[in-house]
Structure formats: C-alpha cells, structure tokens
C-alpha cells in the first residue's frame, strides 16, 4: 500500500495522515518528513526553485520504492508526495509518511524513503536568484553517503 503522487499543488499533512490511518486501529505510529524550500543556496538568497521530473519513470520508481520500504520495514502503509513546478522559499516540496505497528519501523521506513527520494528519484531542481540568474542544483555527495547506509548495511 504505497500512495504515490507527483503534483504541482501543495499537500495537507493533516489530511494525508488521517487518510493513511482511516478506519483502522492497528497502527502504532506514523513517522513523516516534510521538505521545505530554503531561502538561500550556498548563502545566496533565492527567489524561487523549479522542479522538473521524468513523467512515467518517476512515478514507477516511487511505486517500486514504496513497495520495497513496505516489505523491508513492515510498514502498514506509506505516502510519497513530491511537488513539481515553481516553488517559493518556505513552501513544501516533498512529503513522506510511513505507518507501522511500532515506532522504530515507522521512523526507519520514513528515513529510508526520504533518503531515496533525495538520491535516486528522477527529479531535478533549478534555483532562480535575485539578480535574474538561475542554476541547476548539483547533486550532493553527502546524499550518496546517506543512501549507502541502506544499500550497504555493513558499511
């Protein structure tokens, strides 16, 4: 049960949490992560950020990782919503919810999913600056380290 969306409009974490747990009493906890657009990039103020994705591949990959997380962390459900288009500083970019009978599974499932979205989901960010210039964001090496926690458990 992975609920996957790529959308331009904002999401409502309260409604999504309620939806994930509706009409059931076997969930012990829901861990979540909301990513927000920060107002600066490398110390430089940004006006906005534009997110692009690979329609088709992105959704397929999100469904696959949602199922993998569900199996791996015994999740009772998860929700992944990623926005695309132009966003202002302070706006939400991404939401991950992971529901499980016990908190550690929910927390681990949520961390796994947001690490994966940051490092392996086909999205690209471009930042618009106040002087009118814009630049594609470079992938961060620390993100590759974060996902390697999950792929190389012995590392």
């Amino acid at each position: 049960m992975a609920d996957i969306r790529v959308q331009a409009h904002d999401f409502d974490i309260g409604a999504e949490t309620a939806k994930l747990s509706a009409a059931r009493t076997d969930i012990g906890g829901i861990a979540s992560f909301v990513g927000l657009v920060r107002g600066t990039a490398s110390g430089r103020p940004i006006l906005s950020m534009t997110l692009e994705h690979y329609p088709g591949m992105t959704e397929r990959a999100m469904v696959a990782i949602g199922l993998e997380a569900t199996r791996r962390f015994d999740l009772q459900g998860c929700t992944l919503i990623h926005r695309v288009g132009t966003l202002q500083p302070g706006e939400a970019i991404v939401l991950v919810l992971a529901a499980a009978p016990h908190r550690q599974s929910a927390l681990d499932g949520c961390a796994f999913l947001i690490d994966w979205l940051k490092t392996s989901a086909p999205f690209w960010k471009k930042e618009q600056f106040q002087d009118g210039s814009e630049a594609w964001v470079d992938a961060r090496e620390t993100d590759d380290v974060a996902i390697s926690k999950w792929t190389n458990p012995g590392a």
Binding site: G35, L51, E52, H53, Y54, G56, M57, R60, A61, H82, I93, V94, I114, L117, K118, T119, S120, A121, P122, F123, W124, K125, K126, W136, V137, D138, A139, R140
Partner: protein
C-alpha cells in the same frame, strides 16, 4: 527510438524529446551517446560538458554498456536532485 532529455541536458540540446532511427553499430548507451553528440552543436555541448550524465532505458537507470534498440525509450539527465 524516443530520446528524452532533462534539466540542463534538455536546455543544451534545445529540445526535451526527439525521435531517431539508430544507425548500424549503435548497440549500447555509450554508442548512442557518442552518436548523438555528432547531431548538432547543442548535442555536443550537452554530452561533452565533462559533467556526469546518467541514462535510463525504458524508464530504468542504465549503465553505459546497457543495450539499446529501436523501439526503446532512452533518457539522459544529470544526477538527480529531488527531495
């Protein structure tokens, strides 16, 4: 074959999508890259940037030695930066 470009590759090539027919001898993602960059100065700029380019074949991430054939959907893009 449908070729897709994303992010700065799309901007340099000048289009997000093109249909091509593979010439003989183009059998892998690496072959395809080498051939595509001969198509226009924009393609050359996209693939010779010295920056990492990743590929997907039929919507799965693919290594340079992955096989390609007419009928495939092949995409090129920079390392991802979502989340």
């Amino acid at each position: 074959m449908k070729i897709l470009y994303f992010a700065w590759l799309r901007e340099r090539v000048g289009t997000g999508e093109e249909d091509v027919t593979l010439p003989d001898g183009v059998e892998t993602v690496a072959d395809l890259t080498a051939w595509l960059r001969t198509r226009s100065p924009g393609h050359e700029a996209a693939f010779s940037a010295g920056r990492l380019v990743r590929a997907a074949v039929n919507q799965d991430f693919a290594a340079p030695d992955a096989r390609v054939a007419n009928g495939d959907e092949v995409a090129f893009f920079p390392p991802v930066t979502g989340g």
